[in-house]
Subunit: 313 residues, 2 copies
């Protein structure tokens, strides 16, 4: 078998796409406000003092402020009881000034994360983790879509990558990333929440390496969301495929001791073979924060719609 | 390429497996009753006079009666308003004598099926179509699993077919069959509701024929749930694979004019190559009714558990 010489992949800049999306969100926010509505507001609850969580929260509230979305962060000690946390959520659910509401995960051991996710009012649930939002996502109903899968979907659409009738391989089956991505990409484009009409394979840690390679080699789009550095290598990728890297792995350089971020894809090798590739950092990451902001604007719009008679529909 | 002579596939009798399951359910029912609990009761609501729906309802209530599950069927005219139907469901939700409750689908055009599914109390929802049960299924939480996907899962387990690390191809992405089967088979066996740990591909009408064949040929298990007669032919099946046929297609014989049921699999051809195959009729069908009965017993057991503080969890 021989191979034609070809150009390296188009590197999709998530930073660039996010910048564009930011302008759209800013415009939407100002439109809402100029129509006499309250300014979209993001309420954030942060429990404990995990430095990574603090950084995430800061990135989110900073992005909000740049886009004209107001926000406030309630910091609770890691010793807070589940009851107290649920009481706070209930208060914020009923507060009309709070458009969107998120509780930064992970939570301390003694708190049931599922109970917390399900306590947030579904229409304010900008993380999309409430059981009803998960159910709606899986039934192709309009819902709050978790930010990371929404970011992957938005990147694919904005880069003009065709999904209908194509083979997609999703490596990773996490409930907030891999699973929803598979849902979005395989489902019907004519449903209430349009899907990608792709043939989707969900692979994961129990997929034997050899079989993974067989399947990735048939894929037109590979979404790497396994949290395994260097999982996807050039020999696994079909010439011209689109490779979306959702991995964020913190690696310490053995020489310098510095920590740097790498994805699940061997970027240097794969970019010589793929048609499209997203870098880490600067790929899915910036788009994820942008999609969270978009969800906050959606939540602000939800507040303008009168409550339906059967709110579960 | 030449092929070793081999025996034809093991034909898995769903009728036989269902008989065994019936005995287990009967024993569970009698145990519940002998412990002083009310007899499990299935409440059925049937709207209109579609003959197929009537047959389905009759099969379900007959199966219930054989297994010692009491039942009643409320028949409403097809002109019934959605409001009246929802009022009836609300009444049955609050009736402690009704353990499990199902509304036979499809419903007349003027009624929103999703609103009806979501009106049934999740713990009585033996069809597993409530949005919260769908969400829980997709998060690998314990839930009411719709009867057809549950039947496929039970057949695979009872036939001793290994799923972990295997390739599964599901043809069909319907929300009550294909999608939940993909969810059950790909997910983690160590989660609250154990999954199959398989690598799962979801194919559908938008999957080009040639690509479908490529993917089915890599599959250790094929689940055909597309509603397309003869979709899966011998050339698409890997030697020794397990082929589960969920299709129920009514075909009129051009000569005799008689209607007969056929599946999505070319049974005669495929059985010479597969390792396991389910027939139609007598495969998934009988197991589906049995799983609905099992769900009814689960619903009766749910009624014994005091309401949790946060019922959505």
């Amino acid at each position: 078998m021989h191979r034609r010489r070809r150009h390296a992949a188009v590197v999709i800049s998530g930073t660039e796409l996010a910048r564009k999306l930011h302008r759209e969100i800013q415009r939407d926010v100002e439109e809402l406000v100029s129509q006499g509505n309250v300014r979209p507001h993001l309420g954030v609850v942060s429990v404990g003092d995990d430095p990574a969580s603090r950084t995430y929260v800061r990135n989110k509230t900073r992005a909000a402020s740049i886009l004209g979305i107001s926000s406030d962060t309630v910091v609770l000690p890691s010793s807070v009881s589940q009851e107290k946390l649920l009481e706070l959520i209930d208060k914020m659910n009923r507060d009309w000034k709070v458009s969107g509401l998120l509780v930064q995960l992970p939570l301390p051991e003694h708190i049931n994360e599922r109970a917390v996710c399900n306590a947030i009012a579904p229409e304010k649930d900008v993380d999309g983790f409430h059981i009803v939002n998960i159910g709606k996502l899986c039934l192709d109903q309009r819902s709050m879509i978790p930010a990371t899968p929404a970011a992957v979907w938005e990147i694919i659409k904005r880069a003009g990558i065709e999904t209908a009738g194509k083979n997609v391989l999703v490596a990773g089956r996490s409930k907030n990333v891999g699973m929803p991505i598979a849902m979005l990409l395989h489902s019907d484009r004519n449903h209430e929440r349009p899907g990608g009409d792709a043939t989707v394979t969900i692979a994961h840690r129990r997929t034997p390496r050899e079989r993974l390679k067989e399947l990735t080699n048939l894929a037109d789009i590979i979404v790497a969301a396994a949290g395994v550095p260097g999982l996807i290598t050039a020999d696994m990728v079909k010439e011209g495929a689109a490779v979306i890297d959702v991995g964020i792995n913190r690696i310490q350089d053995p020489k310098t001791g510095k920590v740097r971020l790498i994805g699940d894809v061997d970027f240097e090798g794969v970019k010589e073979k793929a048609g499209f590739i997203t870098p880490v950092p600067g790929g899915v990451g910036p788009m994820t924060v942008a999609m969270l902001m978009k969800n906050t604007v959606t939540a602000a719009r939800n507040a303008l719609i009168p409550k339906p008679r059967f709110p579960m529909v």
